[in-house]
Symmetry: C2
Subunit: 336 residues, 2 copies
Amino acid sequence: MRVVGDIDEFALIARATRFLGGLSAAGNVLLGGGDDAAVLGLPPDTAAVLTQDALLEGVHFRRDWSAPADVGWKSLAVNVSDLGAMGARPLAATVSLALPPDLPLTWVDRFYAGLDECSRRYGCPVVGGDTVRSPAGIAVSIAALGSVVPGRHLMRGGAARGDLVCVTGVLGQSAAGMACLAAGRGATGVAATPVARHRRPQPPVEAGALLAAAGIASAMMDLSDGLGSDLRRLCEASDVGAQIEMLRLPISDDTRRLAARLGANPMEWALHGGEDFELLFTVPPGRWAEVPPLLASLGVSATIIGRTGGRGVRVLDEAGHGQPLRPRGFAHFAPE
Amino acid sequence: MRVVGDIDEFALIARATRFLGGLSAAGNVLLGGGDDAAVLGLPPDTAAVLTQDALLEGVHFRRDWSAPADVGWKSLAVNVSDLGAMGARPLAATVSLALPPDLPLTWVDRFYAGLDECSRRYGCPVVGGDTVRSPAGIAVSIAALGSVVPGRHLMRGGAARGDLVCVTGVLGQSAAGMACLAAGRGATGVAATPVARHRRPQPPVEAGALLAAAGIASAMMDLSDGLGSDLRRLCEASDVGAQIEMLRLPISDDTRRLAARLGANPMEWALHGGEDFELLFTVPPGRWAEVPPLLASLGVSATIIGRTGGRGVRVLDEAGHGQPLRPRGFAHFAPE
């Protein structure tokens, strides 16, 4: 079996080019990979949106749990999710790969194949980056560039007192999928969708862009660390409190059934599971009626889960008792 | 001594924000760090230029050889160098940091201080990114965004037969500095400038932007791996040969003296040392006269080192004998 250390850097870059050239002829790419940098034309009257996020072996994924194509998909998906959360549309991405010399070349090829699939799904061509030898473990860092109408970008800090707190899609699905894998269960039946979503998040990037362009939402971010952590961040940035209701949290039937089988609490997954990569946003009550039809055109659902106001972030449980919502999401440097 | 593992991710990000907020109020930054992504306004009628490059501990730097502030400086400098090589002006950058838990927090603070210095030098504010735990070793990946007038960007593939082959500044200086450090010599006297340039490369980014805007150069790239590797790439991309003359290579007196002391060949450093981060560019002979006065306004020198034409890439030695110029630059996956 050939490994990364068997070929030189240029041969490795040539392999990447074979997989990633697909969208480089896209309209916005004035110059794709292979030079010192890529040149991208922004749509008229837009500003650039830039984000960067890394995935590390042993921290964000394990080689024995995640197929290389899924790591490739996810490493771009988490970045386009950040673009969507600003209300931006993806333009292009660059990828920085650090690879250990003993890594099989088939792993690298499959990683690129998954990256390319995600790139095509979101219309976000990979136009450059670099590949270096890693002393230990795989490290992927992707930067994504998007465009947004200036002044229409949506921040975390825009929520006003009395706004509705909303989310797209369903919550806790990725956590359900991960719990299923951790328990050694198969990925069929009710586990199929949760496991698939855990492996390949599907951030509703176009929904974010539509909400921003229509000027409906007042604040927005993506749900990466769990509602408990992320809603707190949105509230702190907006200087408001919020109360959400457990009974309103959108949880799929598959997630509920998996929770019952595994003896887990689906509410915990929905509140603290993380990695859903859905949108968390706030809307003035008078604008809510516009949201469902707008997002329905994309096949994306939206749910009101609470309202801003009061002090701190609170959650009403099934019995109607309020309690503080504390973050229990993933923090990389916290004691384990 | 406090280490990275002692504080949580949010505290670490807060430390970064203290160091890197300086330029976020710059005119092009519509929204700086702290949200899902940054928003940047491009100057009117420009296209975006995007590049990304990583620096890994044990591959690109050693903690016992490089001060943390120098690693911070260099990790941004290599990226703005790529922007300059396209003829672009820097707009903003994001940084992805992977840090081992046992790393002293003072290392991180000093890294940010050096990054901030480079950011100010090149007017390239750091507007986002992420910080994650690393299982082994420090990994830095930076993405830099710039702007260029569409159609004025300079590629590697634009050289025509008969163009002059030129470089900015002096060559072999970084290799001289590294050789000095490797030999355990001090960084004073004739070693001062070479060692300083090795530690903190000073890519002539503005010179690249001026050459591009004036439409003088036909092809351009930055010298990162050494002239032997990089001129070959430019020639292959342009589908031309080239011949350069050793006696024309700009080598500083300090570099020559250091070579004499260390028993090294300064020509080898100039041809194959790498990491000079000067510009390699080609100019039609009729346009050369414009180059020195244009770059002199920035305090940057330029030297004709040869001419495109013929087959392959050749070098005339001091005795006037031609020989093929073979790459001996740094290739990450090559056998060691």
